[in-house]
């Protein structure tokens, strides 16, 4: 059951942007719409899982003193693969995410998981960890994007879902909206966990 636990911890107990509060730069910057959050999340998940796999396999080969340099080369290579693939098959999304795709290289979640988990664990748990964390990140970004898109634009995944006379709060799709939204979600999650603790 070890691998399963490693997988599920990323979905709630250690969900990256809300619990570990890591990877906030893309979290705040690209979640102007649900689709952008989803695309960014999936790209990050791919890099996370691939780098976890490779780093776990190479963990006995890489000398400790140069491990960070080695991790960065591995991560950066996967990021460029993602970038080229998106350019080739998802050009409009690539245009929107733009600079934030190469910036996946410096996303703390990926280097953090490589250093804290994949470099110390065997292959299977590392894959589970990468998948869980990546999925948690994707869900968080999609959720944040959806909330901001609904309130700020009245649409979800580009489809209008609110009544016609709805006046969008356009501040929600601008930078301050990202902070407002993230703060409220963090607060709600803390409140829920505190209630759970009291009960048990």
């Amino acid at each position: 059951m070890g691998a399963w636990n490693e997988f599920t911890k990323g979905l709630w107990k250690e969900i990256p942007p809300f619990r570990l509060v890591l990877g906030l730069c893309p979290t705040l910057a690209v979640t102007t719409a649900a689709k952008n959050g989803l695309g960014m999340g999936l790209a990050t998940t791919f890099v996370l899982v691939c780098s976890n796999v490779l780093i776990s396999l190479l963990r006995n080969v890489i000398p400790r003193k140069v491990r960070i340099a080695a991790f960065i080369v591995v991560i950066a290579s996967f990021v460029v693969i993602v970038e080229l693939t998106m350019q080739a098959y998802f050009y409009p999304l690539y245009k929107i995410l733009g600079l934030f795709i190469p910036l996946i290289v410096v996303n703390c979640i990926i280097l953090g998981r490589a250093e804290a988990f994949a470099s110390k664990n065997r292959l299977l748990p590392s894959i589970a960890d990468g998948l869980g964390m990546g999925l948690g990140f994707t869900l968080s970004l999609t959720f944040l994007g959806a909330v901001r898109e609904i309130i700020g634009n009245g649409t979800l995944f580009g489809n209008p879902i609110l009544w016609d006379s709805f006046e969008p709060f356009s501040i929600m799709v601008k930078a301050p909206g990202a902070f407002l939204c993230l703060g409220v979600i963090l607060g709600l999650m803390n409140w829920v966990s505190m209630r759970q603790q009291k009960k048990s």
Binding site: V61, V73, L84, T85, Q87, A88
Partner: protein
């Protein structure tokens, strides 16, 4: 000493593998990436420069490659010419041309009609300063070129020409101008090829 050698060898091996994989990916996706550029960047630009023209074909489908000499290493250079046709007759052509601006190369799609007029220009890629040089993409600037005759070439009003540059961005404006002039110089050759 052994540890030092090991560090160097491992890092070098990882970097070499990374380079290999990346160059392979880059080659494998090249054709598809160019197609996407055609569809999402050049497509709208071509439509913009032909917006005043009367044509009934798809210029992206009807494109041809024209060899235009060699680059500085002696490799043959090709230019992709997009043709606007009416009833099978070529009425205008569009092709990309570039000039150096303040922050790097500026790539411009230039439309030229067979009667010897600029049908329009559209800036495709640039790395100019946002808010200053980047304003070369605005219609206030680009619309000035529409309908100009091809013989004399274009010049900024500060150099005695007819084009008002973007204020505070003379390098960027000149980059666009030189790209257009380069395209005009090529026109007689292109005209010979297509007609």
């Amino acid at each position: 000493m052994r540890e030092l050698v090991r560090m160097v060898v491992v890092l070098a091996a990882i970097c070499a593998c990374s380079g290999l994989v990346l160059s392979f990916t880059s080659q494998a996706t090249q054709v598809q990436r160019e197609n996407q550029l055609l569809k999402f960047v050049k497509g709208p630009s071509i439509q913009a420069v032909f917006s005043d023209c009367d044509y009934d074909n798809d210029p992206i489908q009807d494109r041809m490659a024209l060899s235009v000499g060699t680059d500085k290493d002696g490799n043959p250079l090709e230019k992709i010419i997009f043709l606007a046709k009416k009833g099978g007759q070529v009425v205008a052509v569009a092709y990309a041309s570039s000039g150096s601006g303040y922050g790097g190369e500026i790539e411009v799609m230039v439309g030229l009609s067979m009667d010897g007029e600029l049908t329009g220009i559209s800036v495709m890629t640039h790395s100019e300063t946002p808010g200053l040089g980047a304003r070369i993409t605005e219609t206030v600037f680009t619309e000035q070129f529409r309908g100009l005759p091809l013989e004399e070439g274009v010049q900024l009003s500060s150099d005695g020409g007819a084009i008002d540059g973007v204020s505070g961005a003379s390098f960027s404006s000149k980059g666009v101008i030189s790209a257009i002039n380069a395209a005009m110089e090529l026109f007689s050759k292109v005209k010979e090829e297509v007609s």
